[in-house]
Symmetry: C2
Subunit: 346 residues, 2 copies
């Protein structure tokens, strides 16, 4: 049964989810290559729908015979629904909570090998629609303080399946890094009456040296403080704190931007492992009189997507300090990615 | 020329050190196995002393003919000495500093394959002595606000060389995670007049379920909020904020504890990749009248070593939120490691 733990020497929560592996021998360095996974044995492929837990969302294909995107609960969930949140102290010094939450898998295509960088806008749009639909649905639950959307592509990026998919985890706390940036954004807004993230975007557009593209209502650049080579962020150009409020144009725009961003990386670097992560407002549900909940509506936040290629290994230095050595200046990353040439269809 | 950067949305500094890799093709997924490195081509092996930068420390062997441990500047330094610290603003919104600092390599043995887990106390003690000597020497420099000691063992843990070595990086800032735990320790001390870390150690000793060993003046356990399977911490049992103040008994004790800790992990799990990181007080030099420096003496801190086996891959979830999924409860990790049986020589 998963649980959430917080130690006494930092503000970080850790999910302890023993279902995902138990004995020392489970951690042997296995040589399994994702490339060896085949459609015939893949539970995410079309025709294997009854091998996943029952779906919570389906985007039917245009002919109505099949589907474009399915969302199913993760069979090996890091967090699960419970009756009680159950916060308590441990040994008088630590904090513990039941592993209340949800963990879902977004199956991005019925096709085993259809990667987002090679999709058309028509193929990628249902993925964005599925993200929005599930985020909205999970935010109906007042226990879920934050809903995290992310994609692991490639073994080095933490994927255990080749079939294109992303994941959604709803948590009963606002993760520390999100909380920190929320607080910084709030302070900045109180001081300046301007959105911190809008100011950053405008400064980047003015400077231009880290910009990769400015198109379809989104700006993509290599962050000034990139931790990793070819790290990127995608910001909606119009201020918005909440990913789920995108209109039809913005959804279509985001689908195109995601395709082009991955295509740029893959054209330049090959089929590299990467992660992307959505940062958006915490669940804004205010529950008057109930203690322990985050009640800020966070209009001063700005949603965005961080894209992190996994080309370097994170070592002792990083784990011990939370600071990073990046061997590639983001100005160079941006220049290389800006200059990638596309076939005219993109 | 390395530089330090801080963005506007968090408190994290990043070292951008372009010397370490420059073109996209430098990041191709290379298959180089450390095991293929041979003593004949190894610059850290005895007989190759003139192939490293000039040594900054040497522990002579007992016969005076050779050496047990050497410390040399890292040829590919993440940070370097400069004349100016040079803090400035970038685009009015970010922070930048020259990459002032030092980066050294501790060559732990003249022998290519001598791993710490297989050493005798007599072999490991000069490593501990070298650590203390170099930390003290680097803390003479008032620009170096923190001196970080760490070890990457195995490719998955970020090592690029097989020959046993650890690394020391001196930085002109106190890393965010260290700063956070310093602040928490300070608040706790002000409230309770007790050391937070001593309280944690006493609670762990009382509970016992996460303790691996209590011997030679050190207590080793699996932290309650372990991020990784088989993660461990080693605390000096006697309160001390400063690693460099250990007396002869404590140095000998630590050498033994390090040997046994690595031996336990390797007996249970094989030659796994791992990191260890020292957490100790920032450079306590107070410079009255000079702004921008950390001036706390941090007697309320407690030095310790974190040991992190690299058995799981860190994925999008972790990068996006700073919170972690650990598939192995630390109570199980501790039980397995506690029960490891040693040959009587340990």
């Amino acid at each position: 049964m998963p649980e959430l733990r917080r130690g006494a020497t930092n503000h970080r929560w850790v999910i302890v989810a023993p279902e995902r592996g138990r004995r020392p021998s489970d951690f042997e360095q296995k040589g399994t290559e994702l490339a060896h996974q085949e459609p015939a044995n893949c539970v995410f492929c079309a025709g294997h729908e009854n091998e996943t837990p029952p779906e919570v969302y389906r985007s039917p294909s245009s002919d109505g015979q099949s589907w474009d995107v399915r969302v199913v609960p993760n069979k090996f969930a890091a967090l699960q629904h419970y009756d009680e949140l159950g916060r308590e102290s441990v040994l008088g010094i630590y904090d513990q909570m039941n592993g209340v939450g949800a963990h879902e898998v977004v199956i991005e295509s019925p096709d085993h090998c259809s990667q987002i960088g090679d999709m058309t806008q028509q193929q990628a749009l249902p993925i964005v629609e599925a993200y929005i639909h599930r985020l909205k649905a999970l935010m109906e639950n007042p226990w879920f303080r934050y809903v995290l959307l992310f994609k692991n592509h490639g073994k080095e990026a933490g994927a255990s399946l080749l079939h294109p998919h992303s994941q959604i985890i709803a948590t009963p706390i606002v993760p520390q890094e999100v909380r920190e940036s929320l607080n910084i954004a709030k302070d900045y807004y109180e001081r300046k009456e301007r959105c911190l993230f809008c100011d950053i975007m405008l400064a980047e557009l003015k400077s231009g040296e880290r910009i990769v593209e400015d198109a379809d209502g989104f700006v993509t650049w290599a962050p000034y403080d990139s931790r990793f080579p070819f790290e990127l962020v995608i910001y909606p150009k119009q201020h918005s704190h909440d990913f789920t409020t995108m209109d039809a144009d913005q959804r279509a725009g985001l689908a195109s931007v995601l395709i082009r961003t991955i295509k740029r990386l893959q054209t330049l670097l090959g089929d590299i492992p990467y992660n992307f992560v959505l940062k958006t407002t915490p669940n804004p549900i205010v529950r008057p009189g109930k203690p322990g909940y985050w009640t800020t509506l966070a209009y001063d936040y700005h949603w965005r997507i961080a894209v992190m290629p996994r080309l370097t290994r994170v070592a002792g230095f990083e784990w011990g300090t939370g600071f990073y050595i990046n061997p590639m200046p983001p100005e160079s990353s941006a220049k290389y990615l800006r200059e990638v040439e596309f076939p005219s269809s993109h």
